[in-house]
């Protein structure tokens, strides 16, 4: 190991911590708002640390039944992720092993991710209205699955490519069907990539706002839509916004921290192998 002077290390950590403080400041503020008393939220000049951190704001969410929106988010994002993973992995495997659709299919699928949501939201809304799918779990799950698919397919393509062919071929010789090979050989080998992809796909669905805003009414409001309802015309319920934001972000934080290893690939969409 090259010997670097100690002060190099100190400076490096100093800079790193400074960067962290700046970048995480808004998130810190979000946490603080959720713990503040109402007078402190509306204090001018602003209060940086609540005098008596209190969980009353969170309790209010439970009492007023707002937490239900988190449950809706969980159901919708969860089910759509599972379905997308199943269909997407199948499709990715076909592209990788059976060269289905050649290069064009893969590129076309990637390009679908580029679609601006606003471009498709109105016809989808009208179609859903006619089919009675508005404000239903099924409707949103269908949509979110379709959104997640391009990402899942593109990612799993990369991970499945890394699975050594000979293992699969020997399994084929042993008489396993294609599905069997996928399930028993490829998937276990690509398991880490699978988990990472699933978690990132879940995060994107979990954070979605525009479609949930337009397609939910009263039954299946997600937590992002719930937060937008706290922006009243007369007053803004910052306490609830803070608390709900924390509740809506915590799962994501935990997932990302656990996924340190797969961060790069997951976020970069496999553009860089790492």
């Amino acid at each position: 190991m090259r010997k670097t002077p100690l002060w190099h290390g100190i400076v490096w950590y100093g800079v790193s911590i400074a960067i962290l403080l700046v970048m995480l400041f808004p998130i810190y503020w979000m946490f603080m708002v959720s713990l503040k008393l109402p007078e402190e939220i509306f204090a001018s000049p602003p209060v940086w640390f609540p005098s008596q951190p209190q969980f009353g704001n969170f309790a209010a969410l439970f009492n007023d039944g707002d937490v239900w929106s988190l449950w809706n988010s969980l159901v919708i994002a969860g089910v759509s992720t599972v379905v997308a993973m199943v269909l997407g992995t199948l499709c990715a495997y076909a592209i990788v092993r059976f060269n289905t659709g050649g290069e064009n299919l893969a590129i076309w699928i990637l390009s679908q991710r580029m679609l601006p949501p606003i471009a498709i939201v109105f016809p989808i809304f009208l179609a859903y209205a006619n089919l009675g799918l508005a404000d239903s779990y099924f409707g949103l799950i269908l949509l979110y699955t379709a959104f997640a698919l391009p990402y899942v397919i593109w990612m799993m393509r990369g991970y499945l490519q890394d699975v050594p062919r000979d293992l699969e071929e020997s399994a084929e010789v042993d008489g396993l069907s294609a599905l069997g090979v996928l399930w028993k050989v490829a998937v276990p080998m690509a398991r880490n990539g699978l988990i990472a992809t699933a978690i990132f796909a879940f995060i994107f669905s979990w954070n979605e706002f525009l479609f949930a805003l337009i397609l939910t009414r009263t039954e299946v409001i997600t937590f992002t839509v719930q937060i937008s309802q706290y922006f009243g015309s007369q007053s803004t319920f910052w306490a609830k916004i803070g608390a709900m934001s924390v509740l809506g972000t915590l799962p994501v934080f935990i997932a990302v921290t656990m996924l340190q290893r797969y961060l790069v690939r997951g976020i970069s969409m496999g553009a860089v192998k790492g």
């Binding site: 109402p38 809304f125 209205a129 009414r217 009263t218 009243g232 007369q234």
Partner: protein
């Protein structure tokens, strides 16, 4: 003889048994009729934030206790109420039962088929005599094209609030008269409003500023009032070209922007909540806003947790009330309860609206600061209970009554929401620094575009109907 007396006594006893039994109590009738729907749920639209608290914390639970009908409240930000109501109707899912409609939008929701005609329900369940109790200024809110489509639940009229103590201060009075040549009193014109604001700011800043106003969101109400007080007209009836960028418009908008300079720093970011907080905490001496401020500055019924962010009032008993400068305040927004034609439980939805609109229940509603419902019935203004809420409540109610009777109605023709939206955006961009003339010219151009899309002749018809009302221009 004894028998006659006994009969009379019995009759007296019966009628004294309480208005709850009388046939002309719409609240009681609504509750009785609604009991047959016990166990069902109705979805009620409410304005997100403080407005909705009335339904979620008081009326909803009370209704459930009385009738067994569960009330689910859907909270929508003000800007979305109209659009979501139309969208919901387009989707036809029947997601909303009882609707909230601002009278200005009535023509549009009716032509979109998004509200149910209520006359049959009023026949069946209503008490016609209670309608005579509604302030005439608000009566025509409920009717379009001869049919009733909504029931008034909130009678809005803008009011001028001012610090009596500062206005009565002898030193202030002399200094003001010396500088401006007229007595320091609630402003009779918007020019006076500006003078007083600047005078008080100069003297007291930074502890206190002469005035505060609402500068974000639906600022079009304030412009609309000033515009008409300066003699402005919205359209040239012959050509249906928008005349909002006339001299009157320029004067009104420039005035608004200029007067901001004599107010608290950062006034351009103020919404309803900031304005109220400032008045309560003693930061401003004068403001123009909606009626709820009257109750809030007195600290009436502010024990609700949801209002804990409102600073405790430091100006109790110091606030005076006046009809807006110019004498014709805007009947800014207001609300009707209506019924969705897609509702699967129209009767229950209607009965909730009737109950909220009724004499007995509405009195309770308008006395609460939570819910922001304001008096609209003659019985509200004359109510001994209300007048007892605080020493000067009587004056307050009088100002509301008089203001409303001389008030200016919101514009209401076809696609009103689009016109209002264009107006609000023009005003907001002027407040944000754009040249008022440019903002108004752009607004006029946008208005002309909307008129063209609607159809010039069609809009002319609708406009003429509206302009014929006394509350349109008050001249």
């Amino acid at each position: 003889m004894l028998r006659r007396l006994a009969l009379a006594a019995a009759l007296a006893a019966l009628t004294a048994a309480g208005p709850a039994l009388a046939e002309d109590d719409a609240a009681a009738k609504a509750v009785e009729a609604a009991k047959q729907y016990s166990g069902t749920t109705i979805t009620v639209v409410a304005e997100a934030g403080l407005q909705a608290l009335l339904d979620t914390q008081y009326s909803g639970p009370e209704w459930e206790k009385l009738t067994g009908i569960k009330v689910k409240v859907v909270e929508l930000p003000f800007e979305e109420i109209y659009t979501k109501t139309i969208l919901e109707h387009q989707a036809g899912t029947g997601g909303y039962d009882t609707l909230l409609v601002s009278p200005a939008w009535l023509a549009d929701v009716v032509s979109n088929g998004a509200v149910e005609p209520l006359d049959p329900y009023i026949e069946k369940y209503g008490v016609k005599s209670e309608f005579d109790d509604v302030n005439p200024a608000f009566k025509d809110w409920m009717i379009y094209d001869g049919k009733t489509y909504g029931l008034v639940v909130d009678g809005d009229v803008l009011v001028t609030y001012y610090r009596k103590d500062l206005f009565d201060d002898a030193e202030n009075k002399t200094a003001f008269k010396a500088k401006y040549g007229y007595d320091l009193a609630p402003p009779k014109s918007y020019k006076e409003f500006g003078d007083i604001a600047c005078f008080l700011t100069e003297k007291y800043q930074p502890k206190l500023y002469g005035a505060g106003v609402i500068n974000t969101g639906y600022t079009h109400f304030f412009f609309s009032e000033r515009f008409r007080n300066h003699g402005g007209k919205f359209f040239d009836e012959a050509t249906m070209k928008a005349t909002v960028n006339s001299e009157a418009g320029l004067k009104a908008l420039t005035e608004m922007v200029e007067q901001n300079k004599c107010m608290s720093p950062g006034i351009e970011t103020w919404g309803f909540a900031e304005n109220l907080s400032a008045l309560n905490s003693g930061e401003i001496a004068m403001t123009i806003s909606w009626p709820p401020l009257g109750r809030w500055t007195q600290g009436v019924n502010i024990d609700d947790k949801a209002l804990s962010w409102v600073p405790a009032t430091k100006v109790k008993d110091k606030i005076g009330y006046a009809v807006n400068p110019g004498g014709h305040p805007q009947l800014a927004s207001g609300f009707l309860s209506a019924v969705s034609p897609d509702s699967k439980n129209k009767d229950a939805a209607y009965l909730y609206a009737q109950w909220m609109h009724s004499k007995a229940q509405s009195l309770k509603n308008v006395m609460r600061p939570v819910g922001l419902r304001d008096p609209y019935r003659l019985s509200h203004y004359d109510s001994p209970e209300y007048q007892a809420l605080w020493p000067t409540a009587k004056d307050y109610l009088l100002v509301l009554k008089e203001g409303a009777s001389q008030g200016l109605a919101d514009i209401s023709f076809i696609e009103t929401f689009k016109y209002q939206d264009a107006m609000a955006r023009a005003v907001n961009s002027a407040i944000g620094g754009e040249d008022p003339k440019v903002a108004l010219d752009n607004m006029a151009a946008e208005w002309d575009q909307i008129t063209e899309q609607v159809g010039v002749d069609k809009q002319r018809e609708a406009y003429k109907v509206w302009a014929a009302k006394p509350s349109a221009y008050r001249q």
